[in-house]
Symmetry: C3
Subunit: 208 residues, 3 copies
Amino acid sequence: MKFSFRPVEGAFYDLFTQAANNLVKGTELLNELGLPGVDVQSVSDRLTDVEHDSDQITHDLYKKINSTFITPFDREDIYSLGSQLDDVMDHLEAVGNLLYLYGLTELPSLPREMHELVDVLDQQAKITAGAMPRLRTMKDLEEYWIEINRLENEGDRAYRMLLVRLFSGEYDALTVLKMKEVADELEAACDAFEHVANTVETIAVKES
Amino acid sequence: MKFSFRPVEGAFYDLFTQAANNLVKGTELLNELGLPGVDVQSVSDRLTDVEHDSDQITHDLYKKINSTFITPFDREDIYSLGSQLDDVMDHLEAVGNLLYLYGLTELPSLPREMHELVDVLDQQAKITAGAMPRLRTMKDLEEYWIEINRLENEGDRAYRMLLVRLFSGEYDALTVLKMKEVADELEAACDAFEHVANTVETIAVKES
Amino acid sequence: MKFSFRPVEGAFYDLFTQAANNLVKGTELLNELGLPGVDVQSVSDRLTDVEHDSDQITHDLYKKINSTFITPFDREDIYSLGSQLDDVMDHLEAVGNLLYLYGLTELPSLPREMHELVDVLDQQAKITAGAMPRLRTMKDLEEYWIEINRLENEGDRAYRMLLVRLFSGEYDALTVLKMKEVADELEAACDAFEHVANTVETIAVKES
């Protein structure tokens, strides 16, 4: 019988869960950008705060890896998972930051496909946050990574249709370039959630 | 003495070979795009079919990893190799799909450097398909990864010259942006073949 | 007691140090591009020479991995570190090459933020070169990776402000596209230095 809970292990699962909960905060802030009359600078600033929280969590995780003799799974995998959760946040923060810096929210409206991508990210964040505590038992994780992959495919399609829209002639070349930067960060966030899921799958394969 | 063939191991090599043979189908479809009067939608649709086949092969491979007690080499390496072969296909499919979606094939002709990149990919696909069955004996693989790296350098040069062409003023800004997307997917496919070869090299180093 | 020096191990540390010293040569060449009346083709050619040197060092390293029975740390980590040092050089060479190919140095001046990015790279190269010999004792490496990460954040900010500048309307669309390519290579070089530092951290975590 495998003894599945020790206090020190609990700390790792807690940090992963905190990191994923922070991603939910991030996608909810991006969702606010779709609201009429939103204060974009404030959203961008709050995203930066959430991103700093994530950095702190990642830092605590690395310290914990270095100071713990027995880790619940391979050190390198804990390390990968932590840095990949952090990568998602970096892309979410970049989206808010670029929208603000480029003044894109001064346009009458952002393309519908951009909101679709944010919606995909929001779903990915929520099921990632739901899955992290299940690392403890390694049970019921398969549905999580299958769903993340499905959402990543949906995000890919939305991204592709967004580019078709951007290149349709509706916007001038500089606006297209700016929106393309934002679109790339949205798509990178979508991929980054998939990287997290792939690492969880790798860990589950090793433990099985 | 190392016993090099067991039925269950054979299944892994077969799946890698199938995945690589599928990439050859993919690059041959891209080659068709250079033919006069080609039906681009049909090519794009057939690429999507081939891409779905690849997804199925990758899925079968992962199931096989999970249900097999002794694998011919490290589980993680089998996993990496499978997902990297799948990545190549994703980029090949994107090329056909974007050319169709953006209506780029309605131009009098695509830049010569684009055809050169497709030709590099076709060569990479063929020697990758030739190398996969040799994983069984781990013999004569060095020439494969050296050649893939050489082709990747050739692809890099073609990509760079393609960008020089795109930015020369010959095309309007939106057309440049569309072609740039296609060029980036071609170059990513070229790189993705190199990632496959790097993983084969890593496996060979461990086994040697 | 761990015996920290054997002749064969020394060869590995020497190769890492040589590779990093080559990166310093690379960033110093990029710095020359900021000088008035510089011969851009000559800088680009010398960058290509330094890049070939790096390829040779990487090749020697791989041969050494394959011919050595006991390596100072995991084969795969030596392999990663070597290929990541090589990646940095590829991006540095691309910067010089693209500036030359696109004729960008014929502009009255390059954006200030571009010089800032080169300056960040130059600092990253120097502290990387200073850290490589310390792999031998695994001592005093933490300050190295913390500083690289700090510089990578600084580079990210400079990159973002460079994009704001490029998209400000000061340049025509094709010039923006060309400069964006250069900017992306500068930022990729910055990231690539961080990947090197992350691998050093992973090695240090394992050895501790």
